[in-house]
Amino acid sequence: MEPFSTVDAKAMPLDMTNVDTDQLVPARYLWRPRQDGYAEILFHDLRREPGFPLDAPAHKGAAIMVADRNFGCGSSREHAAWALVDSGFRVVIAPSFGDIFYSNSFKNGLLPIVLPEARCAELRAALARNPGTHLVVDLPAQTVTGPVGVNDGFSVDSFAVDPLRKELLIAGQDETGLTLSLAATIKGFVAGYAEAMPWV
């Protein structure tokens, strides 16, 4: 996994609430092996509709998406995060996220950022007026800055992130190494657990 620190990149607005994982990756592509890549599957059905922002020339190379409420709701498919990462996205900013999607994102080096609903709407509007402008996402400082080079809607927003997730994302590590280092603690715990609930 690629270590994460600061991303200075084009941001793409997506004006849709409740973007579900079936829209991000339709179920009929779930069998595809991970190593085959999911870039062309991202928003497979929606991106064919006129006006969908993903393939607009101004958004070529975008690594940040500013979305709306309940982004990534629906199934547990990690493919949704894979498709975003394979398409070059490193950050999704939204007022709220589907639970499992939120957690899956971190495991794939994709940073989901929660900002207030009104602020997300302002950012999307500013990006719509100024297509292709940049935002700067600084994970160590936990800030989003921009749109960069644009006067309207410019500001610095702070965001919250769980310390463990932040730590692992900056290090580019997954949790398995950390957990394996706790093997002795786990073993002791399991012994007590098995004694209390031997039927499990």
Binding site: Q23, L30, D45, I100, N108, T179, L182, I186, P198, V200
Partner: protein, 471 residues
């Protein structure tokens, strides 16, 4: 005296191996369930050269990619699907976990099999790489879906990191469900009320007389759709119904151990005065048979109601959402729910494919004929066998239904069982998202009895009218 705890608090505490100062918790996993979409996680294990940590507590079955036309590998038409199913059997051989493979009568949808085999138990944590793992909470387990990376982590360690303890929510349904009103109607009414984000990030406990009176099958349907309310998990406190359901199941404790387990399970229900972060109460007497009209599970209405008019919506955003849903569904504002045409019927999925569901649908179909193409897909080989022993297969067949082999089938169509574009499908599954049952497919979620009623009339129909003897 210690502070009163909820069922969720008790399970959480007993499984928290490590709690970091920043609130992150390493949870022990009591049971890990696998399905045929778990290939990526096993590849991770192989790449890291890690063994499966705890094969005794790991169980799997193929369900998503199996054919429902025949119960063997040869019936799966496409190589990529066959490879996923045979790859899973191969991983089971290699790593030694319990696997109910194709041809084993115990094979079926993983969320049907867990309870059926007594793998699902009160008071434990359970995870599976599938969001509808929330189903298992019906027996008083803390059960939730995880992503592929987390599946790999659980395979390697039998534990899971949670960045903090989720919030809790209690949903009380008071009173009694009326005749012809089922568990599915109750959960659709709950989602219509709190919305698909109403439970976001929370663990829901379903409480009150309606759930106390409800069968385990019904509780499974309710907990199953917790995820459609945005929640991580849903649960019902274990009670005498739960113990009666579990007793004698193959993987449930037996003999003296059973007595010990039951004594412990009786301590699990939430203490009086336990705190919840949110609480909602509904009147069960007022719930009617439900169906969805739109493209989100919250787009649900009583069958006696009407499709909403976007013009009457309170906000522009809501207006747009309703208009675009109606456009996709090909419905006009204000039309009566029971005027919505149905061209296809699917009775199945982890929400409603258990024996009780099939019995209820068959009771409606008895002596009637389906007007449209209709399928019944039992949730497991054992459900199928039981139904056949009761003669339900004959009722379905006589009514013009296809009686299929167990699997997820048309719920998400990943095995190729798809609904055609533009076709209105009355489905007992859990999601009516755009394209869920196939590109352009129009899903109407409802209970098995409502789906049976729609099959015989060709439109959404208040099943209570058929139950009252109308032809």
């Amino acid at each position: 005296m210690s502070a009163p705890q909820s069922l969720f608090d008790k399970i959480w505490q007993r499984h928290a191996v490590v709690t970091r100062p920043d609130g992150a918790v390493l949870l022990l996993v009591g049971r890990h369930l696998l399905h045929d979409g778990s290939a990526a996680a096993f590849r991770f294990l192989d790449e890291r050269r890690l063994p499966l940590h705890d094969k005794r507590h790991t169980f799997g079955t193929p369900d998503h990619y199996v054919s429902t036309a025949g119960n063997d590998l040869a019936s799966i038409g496409e190589a990529f699907r066959r490879d996923l199913v045979s790859g899973m059997a191969e991983n089971a051989r290699k790593h030694g976990f319990t696997h109910f493979g194709l041809g084993d009568p115990r094979q079926g949808i993983i969320h049907v099999i867990g309870p059926e085999q007594g793998i699902t138990l009160p008071g434990i944590t359970m995870v599976c790489g599938d969001s509808h793992t929330s189903s298992h909470g019906a027996l008083g387990a803390l059960a939730f879906g995880i992503g592929a990376s987390e599946v790999a982590h659980v395979l390697a360690t039998q534990t899971l990191w949670q960045s903090r303890k989720p919030q809790s929510m209690r949903i009380n349904v008071e009173g009694k469900l009326g005749t012809g009103v089922t568990a599915k109607d109750a959960i659709l009414a709950i989602i219509a009320r709190i919305g698909t984000a109403g439970g976001t990030g929370k663990v829901i406990e379903y409480a009150g007389p309606v759930f106390r009176d409800m069968s385990i099958e019904g509780r499974l349907s309710v907990c199953n759709m917790s995820i459609e309310a945005g929640a991580r998990a849903g649960m019902v406190a274990p009670d005498e119904n739960t113990f009666a359901y579990l007793k004698g199941r193959p993987y449930a404790p037996q003999g003296a151990m059973w007595e010990r387990a039951v004594a412990f399970w009786r301590t699990l229900p939430s203490d009086a005065g336990a705190a919840f972060d949110a609480e909602v109460t509904l009147n069960g007497n007022a719930i009617e048979p439900m169906a969805t009209w739109g493209t989100s599970p919250e787009h649900a209405s009583a069958v006696t109601g009407a499709v909403p008019d976007p013009a009457a919506a309170p906000t522009a955003e809501r207006r747009e959402a309703i208009a675009s849903a109606l456009n996709y569904m090909g419905l006009s504002p204000g039309m009566r729910m029971d005027e919505i045409p149905i061209n296809r019927v699917f009775i199945g999925s982890c929400t409603n494919s258990r024996i009780e569901d099939l019995r209820a649908a068959a009771a409606v179909l008895q002596g009637r004929k389906a007007k449209v193409q209709a399928w019944a897909v039992p949730g497991s080989g054992l459900v199928k066998r039981q139904a056949e022993q009761e003669g339900l297969d004959k009722v379905f067949r006589d009514a013009g239904f296809e009686w299929r082999e167990p699997g997820c089938s048309m719920c998400a169509g990943v095995n190729g069982d798809l609904v055609e574009p533009g076709v209105h499908c009355a489905s007992t599954s859990n999601r009516n998202f755009v394209g869920r049952q196939g590109p352009g497919a129009r899903t109407h979620l409802m209970s098995p009895t409502m789906a049976a009623a729609a099959a015989v009339t060709g439109h959404i129909t208040d099943v209570r009218r058929l139950m009252a003897g109308e032809a």
